[in-house]
């Protein structure tokens, strides 16, 4: 529980505490600091160390699992077992999706990217299933006042990935169609060249909406899920056994249901990434 014996906190404070990141940034008065008291002062040049830390840790976990999870002498002559099976299943699943969406063009970056997105986002989402107080309490034990565990409940993380996808969309659009082709796509549709400004607005919104919706969809789903976990956990802070038991039951039910959302959101993020990049590769007019 977040409530400590000597200073009972209100529900609002409990929720607020769970929604605050461990932030390090540059302040006017104290230079670079991780003191949460100066978080207001940091402005843009601040980093959510917890979100980034977990995200990078889970990324490394993904790489490690898939790079060294294969047996040392993985050979095609032996039937795959255990972890290798799982890895191949993931890769095959991703590959199938990529091949079904990426029909016109060939790009061998898409497969690895989709795999990274799927597994990494899934791992980040999975952190949501760890009861909301466990890791923050541990962090408190080593002196970190705020500690958010699920990276995908941080819009910076989801929009950060969406930004990378956006950059790739623009990169491949220009690479495949040429700068001229890309600009033509932005300005000559859907109304022809005489309504260029209208076209640009429409297509521009269309283009910008892709990364924003991609990032916010993941963030929104996970943030809402996390919030419900926090509210359920809040029930356990009341000094009533029946409410507490109800809370445990609800937590179980929500966690089971949430497994579906976690996997689904990771899958959606991957599929949309592939779709957006496939669209960037399409040269024909539409």
């Amino acid at each position: 529980m977040a409530s400590e014996a000597h200073e009972p906190i209100t529900s609002q404070e409990y929720i607020q505490h769970h929604l605050t990141n461990l932030v390090c940034g540059k302040t006017e008065s104290h230079g670079w600091t991780c003191d949460p008291h100066y978080s207001e002062e940091m402005g843009f040049w601040a980093f959510h160390v917890d979100s980034l830390g977990w995200s990078i840790f889970l990324g490394i976990l993904f790489i490690g699992l898939f790079r060294w999870g294969l047996p040392k002498l993985a050979s095609a002559s032996e039937a795959p077992t255990g972890l290798q099976n799982f890895i191949e299943m993931c890769v095959e699943f991703v590959n199938e999706n990529v091949q079904s969406i990426f029909t016109s063009a060939k790009n061998n970056l898409i497969g690895p990217m989709a795999l990274t997105v799927l597994v990494w986002v899934f791992l980040m989402n999975l952190m949501d299933l760890i009861p909301v107080d466990y890791l923050p309490e541990l962090a408190k034990g080593v002196g970190l006042e705020y500690f958010k565990v699920v990276p995908t409940t941080d819009p910076n993380i989801t929009l950060g990935m969406a930004l990378a996808v956006f950059i790739l969309i623009i990169f491949y659009s220009i690479k495949i169609k040429g700068l001229k082709g890309f600009l033509a796509e932005l300005t000559l549709h859907p109304f022809g060249k005489y309504l260029m400004p209208v076209n640009l607005v429409l297509e521009g919104v269309n283009l910008i909406a892709k990364p924003i919706s991609l990032g916010l969809r993941l963030f929104g789903n996970l943030y809402a899920g996390e919030m419900i976990f926090i509210l359920i956990a809040l029930m356990l802070t009341f000094s009533s056994i029946s409410v507490g038991l109800l809370g445990v039951g609800l937590h179980l039910i929500w966690a089971l249901f949430h497994i579906l959302i976690l996997a689904l959101q990771a899958f959606i993020f991957m599929v949309l990434t592939i779709v957006y990049l496939a669209m960037a590769h399409e040269t024909q007019d539409h």
């Binding site: 990141n21 050979s75 970056l109």
Partner: protein
Amino acid sequence: MNINATLFGQTVAFVIFIAICWKYVWPPIIAIMEEREKRIADGLEAAKKADDSLEEAQLAFDQEMNKAKAEAAELLEKANARASQIVVDATAKAGIEAEKILTSASKTIENDVNKAKEELRQKMSALIIETSEKILGDEINTDKHQELLAKAASEL
């Protein structure tokens, strides 16, 4: 829930992880899977080939078997024919032999009969002479009437 430089941090991390995955994670997995796919395809093809050759062998076996059966039947027929021929030959030989034996036996019998007849004739003539001597007394001289006796004997 404020947007800050974390966003760029995550973008950079994302790009780096994609790059690592692209360079070091994806290729070995795909290579293994593709090689296995190829092996399985080869294996299936080999199995199909083996199946075909088995069928061929079965066919050849059946042919050989039929041929052998036909040969055996032919041999059996020949043997039967030969056996009956042997029996026929043997029967014929035996018939000839039997006839020969019969002929020689009848000849012997005839000889014996002639011999006995001759003996009987001589004994008869002797007996006649003796009887005649007894009747006529010593009138008849054996030497004298030899001719008559022989005549009588031949007439018997």
